[in-house]
Subunit: 98 residues, 2 copies
């Protein structure tokens, strides 16, 4: 069920509670800027454990102290599903950049 | 000195010894495919220590078990320098995908 593409209205409703997250077509995106490369990589490792436990993985790019995250569900034909929103919510629970 | 843009001839000569690395304009690129997300992230962490010690950092994107790496030197006007080749050489010394 969580692999079912969500309606735009539901996505946008849940995104309203997620600071800095945007919907770009069928992808949820956010770019986080940390104070250093060390922090950026530490963050990625911390999130990697959650992603692996959820069996749902981000597409993400690191450039020095920045991490750009893209979330979509390949199994759902590259649509936004509940899993993407769950991962975004998990990232925000952990994210220490305020 | 290692921040000086290198001549194409020198870059290509040194790239010849680096399996899977290509020059795309002023960027050195390679994509590595691991057996799992865990391995891909472990590799990134391992390389992150080297990059931090060299004070020279990759631009890299992880998608599940794949890591796409791009190396260029911002301080040299986004050109390929000795630092990029040194980091590529370090990555190949460590890379356990053969």
């Amino acid at each position: 069920m969580s692999d079912k593409a969500l309606e735009i209205e539901e996505i946008d409703r849940r995104l309203a509670g997620l600071k800095g997250w945007k919907r770009e077509g069928d992808v949820l995106v956010k770019t986080l800027e940390f104070g250093s490369f060390r922090e950026a990589i530490s963050f990625m490792v911390r999130i990697a454990f959650e992603a692996e436990a959820m069996n749902h993985h981000p597409e993400w790019t690191n450039v020095y102290d920045t991490v750009a995250i893209r979330l979509t569900t390949h199994h759902a034909g590259n649509k936004i599903t509940d899993k993407d929103l769950q991962l975004a919510e998990t990232i925000e629970r952990i994210n220490w950049v305020r």
